[in-house]
Amino acid sequence: MPVAEHHILVDKPSLDMGIQNLIWQVTKKAFTGGIIGITISDRFCSVVPVRGDSMSPTFNPQRNSYLDDYVLVEKFCLNDYKFARGDVVVFSSPTHFKDRYIKRIVGMPGEWISSSRDVIRVPEGHCWVEGDNKASSLDSRTFGPIPLGLIRGRVSGVVWPPQRVSKIG
């Protein structure tokens, strides 16, 4: 008695279609994930490494880039630009706008800052930033007060390495 044999034939064209479909699905998911990731990083918060020792000992107390601190930068402050003296902020450099610096706000608009030779009033819409490690910091003492619009986020705490996890401010 003949046994009905069932062969499932997968011919090459439909195998290609299957792989194409899979690649398309994966690409779509990666694209969506990327867009959502960018939005979260721009609107909510992101994690960035701190380079250099201009904020020592608050960040990077040892001069060893393998042990650089990673900090959480929140972006909600950019909705109304309400900052206060003492906030640690990330901002675009006024001279090299693609560079980002992390420094502390030590003067708000209307306040007076005494620098080496004279006393300066912080203009409206600006702030005076300085690194905690004054000996090794490029900040407002060099490039003057910065417009608040250059600020890209506020540091809320250290998230790495685990033994240095802390809240700031």
């Binding site: 969506t32 901002f91 706008f97 203009p123 819409g125 619009g149 600020i151």
Partner: protein, 168 residues
Amino acid sequence: MGSSSSFWNIAYQQAMKSGVLVAKVYSFLHVTTNYLAFPAYAFGPSMIPTLHPSGNVVLAERISTRSRKLSRGDVVVLQSPEDPNKTPIKRVIGLEGDCVSFVADPEKSDESKTIVVPKGHVWVQGDYTQNSRDSRMFGPLPYGLIQGKVLWRVWPFQDFGPIGPTTT
């Protein structure tokens, strides 16, 4: 009973689907307006005759500003150095390294000053210099405060057209 728990299951699944859809739409809008182009509402007298004081909606793009391809004569949306919550629209008059001459205080005297635009900054002025707060008052503008380059006027419809490098 089985039917009650499956109702909440379905309700939960629907809520998650809507949530994911909202997240996708929000993210898509965010990336488009922050990395491609965005609309801006311009009002006020400082850009007469290019823009009408009673209001124009313009389309500004972010691609030129991110890649530093601005030229003299471009109209840009910027964040005011005097108030980060305000975004005026002005024209780029000088790039970094340019020598700019301007009358600092037209009401008080005719005396003109000359300044070299520092690195990383641009000099912006409104087309209607008699009524415009711009670099003549707040100094050179750091590049990081430029939000986008104005391309087209889209509203009111009878004024639909490109915004060019010369005052029109």
